[in-house]
């Protein structure tokens, strides 16, 4: 009797779930598998092109140092952007969660998070206007400073870092804020009643308790930054060659798809290793 209703339930669950997961399979999981397949081909298997299975694409990555160097460059960029975002973002989250009280907190939090959900391409473009020579920053600096300065940060690694921090900073603020909000104020009061000073409370209580949130934010920033290509292109110009831009080139300029697929897959492997290593923390931070 119960097995009948259990079977009915299973049929209903299947009916409700299959459209969404079919869609995800066709649009995400099969393409990712196809990418792996392509990365072992000598040429694209379309039309009457000649192709065969090969390891050449991976050999190219491991034999020439070009791609590995660029991947390392991208990883370093990821570390830098993540580090700066955490250093800037955590105090901001702390102020929001523990200093500001009442209704204004919600509004301010929304204001901090809002840019994150707006168009990232346009935000990067807006930095281009600010940072370019004869741009707004240049003009403002000359208006304030008594001596003549030339500020042209455009097309420099600094510009790329600024743009990326601007893009992803709200992420770490969001996750840290949620973690800090979960810390009951009475814990801080208890520590004070036991004689702890501000610094002790920060290092022994708040940082350990907020660590999962901070780490989750860090991972969520690091991963997309390593795979970024639009930001280095727009803000870095000729000096903006990173691992992501090389992948982009394989697909839109050089049309060496198998190499692009191999490079993408290597990046995916790196990303999955990082996500896997941190998944217990990410899962804990979500709840």
């Amino acid at each position: 009797m119960s097995s009948l209703s259990a079977r009915q339930d299973r049929i209903r669950a299947f009916t409700l779930l299959s459209p969404a997961y079919l869609w995800l399979t066709v649009a995400v999981f099969l393409p990712l598998s196809a990418m792996v397949f392509f990365s072992f081909l000598s040429d694209v298997p379309f039309g009457d092109r000649e192709w065969h299975g090969t390891l050449e694409n991976y050999q190219e990555f491991f034999q020439t140092s070009t791609y590995a160097t660029l991947l390392w460059k991208s990883l370093k960029l990821g570390l830098m952007v993540t580090g700066i975002s955490v250093l800037i973002g955590f105090p901001c989250a702390y102020v929001l969660a523990k200093v500001i009280k009442g209704r204004s907190r919600e509004a301010l939090f929304l204001l901090v998070i809002l840019p994150f959900w707006s168009n990232s391409l346009v935000r990067i473009f807006s930095w281009a206007i600010v940072l370019r020579g004869n741009g707004v920053l240049d003009f403002a600096a000359n208006a304030v400073l008594p001596w003549d300065v030339r500020i042209n940060l455009m097309f420099s690694p600094t510009a790329i870092v600024i743009g990326l921090v601007h893009s992803y900073l709200p992420y770490v603020i969001l996750t840290s804020y949620l973690a800090l909000q979960a810390i009951d104020d009475s814990l801080i009061e208890a520590a004070r009643s036991l004689g702890a000073k501000r610094r002790t409370i920060l290092t022994r209580l708040i940082l350990p308790l907020a660590a999962p949130g901070i780490l989750a934010g860090a991972v969520l920033i690091f991963v997309p930054v390593v795979g970024s290509f639009m930001e280095p292109r727009l803000l870095g110009g000729r000096r903006g060659t990173y691992y992501g831009t090389v992948i982009e080139d394989q697909f839109v300029a050089v049309f060496n798809w198998p190499l692009g697929a191999a490079l993408s897959f290597i990046l995916l492997a790196v990303v999955l290793v990082i996500l896997g290593a941190f998944s217990p923390i990410l899962r804990r931070a979500r709840t």
Binding site: L17, A27, P31, A34, P91, V95, I113, L121, S228, S264
Partner: protein, 261 residues
């Protein structure tokens, strides 16, 4: 005292962060009303660039395409996502955790990887670059967001309401439409707004999947920027950012995103 001083410093710091986040956007918006083509200061007000925008068929077409793609994506992602959320909430079955975990790759994997993989696969099965490919890709990216938002709303739903309705003789379908869906409606609306934003603001996946000359607005902007800045891009970017922030403010109203959790 020192506590109060610290609180003031904290607020000043928050102000600085907000300045960092909003200043470039405001500068861009201001420049779109500046008469000088080369962003020269001092500022002199002009709506010339918006007028030109209105006459630029390429941009108008791309904008229109972006909007209707986003609407189609919203409808697909919201209906599929809501159905999946209800099933994940209501039923227990083997493999449920795996299904929940599968929602994260589309969110967590860099769009560069997802986008190029889609390009390869769609090309392989004979679906060329173009609007259908863009819609399939966008909907897949938006789906997990919808499921996450609707599931969050469902978590506040009292299961006994469904049981009560069923004990009164309502069928499963009737229960869903009369009890469950009305309760999670704010979540569905918020999820739909997220889906719209994911599609409307999507650049990376569109970039790889759309046909040159037949692209969405963000792709058109990217290619124009790489050719050189024009105040027209400023103007259209200002409009885009206003629209996407407006949508997210609406979404915030419907989900308690940002509220006390």
């Amino acid at each position: 005292m020192s506590n109060r001083l610290l609180a003031h410093l904290g607020k000043a710091y928050l102000g600085l962060i907000l300045f960092f986040l909003y200043a470039p956007i405001l500068v861009m918006a201001a420049m779109s009303f500046n008469a000088s083509e080369f962003y020269q200061l001092p500022f002199s007000f002009s709506t010339e660039w918006y007028e030109r925008l209105w006459k630029n068929d390429e941009i108008l077409e791309a904008a229109w395409r972006s909007v209707w793609i986003a609407v189609v994506v919203t409808v697909i992602a919201t209906s599929l996502g809501t159905a999946a959320s209800i099933a994940l909430f209501r039923y227990e079955f083997p493999g449920k955790t795996v299904l929940q975990l599968l929602l994260f790759p589309p969110i967590a994997i860099p769009w560069l990887i997802t986008g190029t993989a889609m390009l390869i696969f769609f090309f392989g099965i004979g679906l060329d670059r173009g609007t259908p490919a863009v819609i399939i890709g966008h909907a897949a990216l938006a789906l997990p967001y919808v499921i996450v938002v609707v599931t969050a709303r469902l978590a506040t739903f009292d299961r006994t309401l469904e049981e009560a309705a069923r004990s009164l003789g309502a069928s499963a379908w009737k229960v869903t439409m009369a009890v469950t869906v009305p309760w999670i409606l704010p979540g569905i609306i918020a999820g739909g707004l997220f889906a719209f934003a994911v599609s409307f603001d999507q650049f990376v996946v569109s970039y790889f999947l759309s046909e040159p000359g037949d692209s969405t607005l963000p792709v058109l902007i990217y290619t124009s920027i790489r050719k050189g800045f024009t105040p027209e891009i400023n103007a259209v970017s200002t409009i885009i950012i206003a629209v996407s922030m407006g949508i997210m403010l609406l979404a915030a109203r419907y989900s308690n995103f940002g509220g006390e959790q």
